[in-house]
Symmetry: C2
Subunit: 180 residues, 2 copies
């Protein structure tokens, strides 16, 4: 199992990336925050790329676990879970979605990190497509995909704007009417 220190390192790295992106965390900063030396961080994660990729992978796994099975439950509740996940990112953490933060600098990221970022968006869009597909009232597969991307875009964008303008209420304003 993952050691406690490794988990602490991941936690600090995740918080920093969500606040300032990939370039915003350093081994020394993480180390000092948890009371060890930077070389000890390298012991747990050999490179910066490896640490960031691991953080992104963990984030995606936890996110999908929180969303749960898209085949179980009411559409409105399923969509509510996604909206709630982003709301909590804002209201509880005051931070961006990790993969949103990484996504904007996608072209500048090491391949391995960019690939993990794509995995997040791919899985989340698939999940949403399934949800919309179940409630299919004659909507085409393309239209379900469009709806999925539209909702995810709305949520990432609403989070971004609420953080930039430092006004949490903007997120609720933007997501009060969830498109079905």
């Amino acid at each position: 199992m993952t050691s406690d220190k490794a988990r602490q390192i991941e936690d600090v790295a995740e918080a920093r990336i969500r606040t300032g992106g990939y370039r915003a965390f350093s081994f020394r900063e993480i180390a000092s925050e948890i009371g060890i030396k930077s070389s000890s961080v390298h012991y747990h994660f050999p490179t910066k790329v490896a640490l960031a990729a691991r953080v992104a992978s963990r984030y995606t796994d936890r996110f999908m676990e929180r969303l749960g099975d898209p085949w179980q439950g009411e559409t409105v509740d399923l969509l509510g879970r996604l909206v709630g996940a982003f709301r909590d990112a804002l209201r509880e953490d005051g931070k961006m979605c990790l993969c949103g933060a990484l996504g904007v600098e996608s072209a500048d990221l090491p391949d391995e990190v960019a690939a993990e970022t794509r995995r997040f968006f791919g899985k989340t869009i698939n999940w949403l497509e399934t949800v919309y597909g179940r409630a299919a009232n004659g909507t085409s597969r393309d239209e379900n995909r469009a709806k999925a991307i539209r909702l995810l875009a709305l949520l990432e964008g609403a989070l971004l704007i609420a953080l930039a303008l430092r006004d949490d209420s903007l997120y609720d304003l933007a997501t009060a009417k969830i498109p079905r």
Copy 2:
């Protein structure tokens, strides 16, 4: 008037920020790209903060100029201008909206740069509120504001996702049906 070199410096800085955020540009990198020394960049812009703030300010001004007068023309055309501005950011530049890129790291930015980022979102939302307000069919001011934030969020998010997944068509898919 702004000298030619100053404009070149701003251009390179803008491109770098739009690709990788505030931390992604350096005086030396900009200098070498336009064939001067980093100290000469400091001659035109004393600090990194000053350069980034100037780039953001210029970006907002150009953006608002492109959107034009929200009191002139048809709603569909006005909204189309905004959608088109973001589409061009993606298809012509292959880059994020500058203030979207800065917005995600807002909490990590120097005050002056964060303030300029807020100015972008404030002005763009105001512009959209005016557009929606004109076509008011009994919609409240709050509802117009919500619609404004929703559209801007959708566009920033769609741009982000298209860049992260490296698939430009996702932007068109998300914006094919512009909410009115």
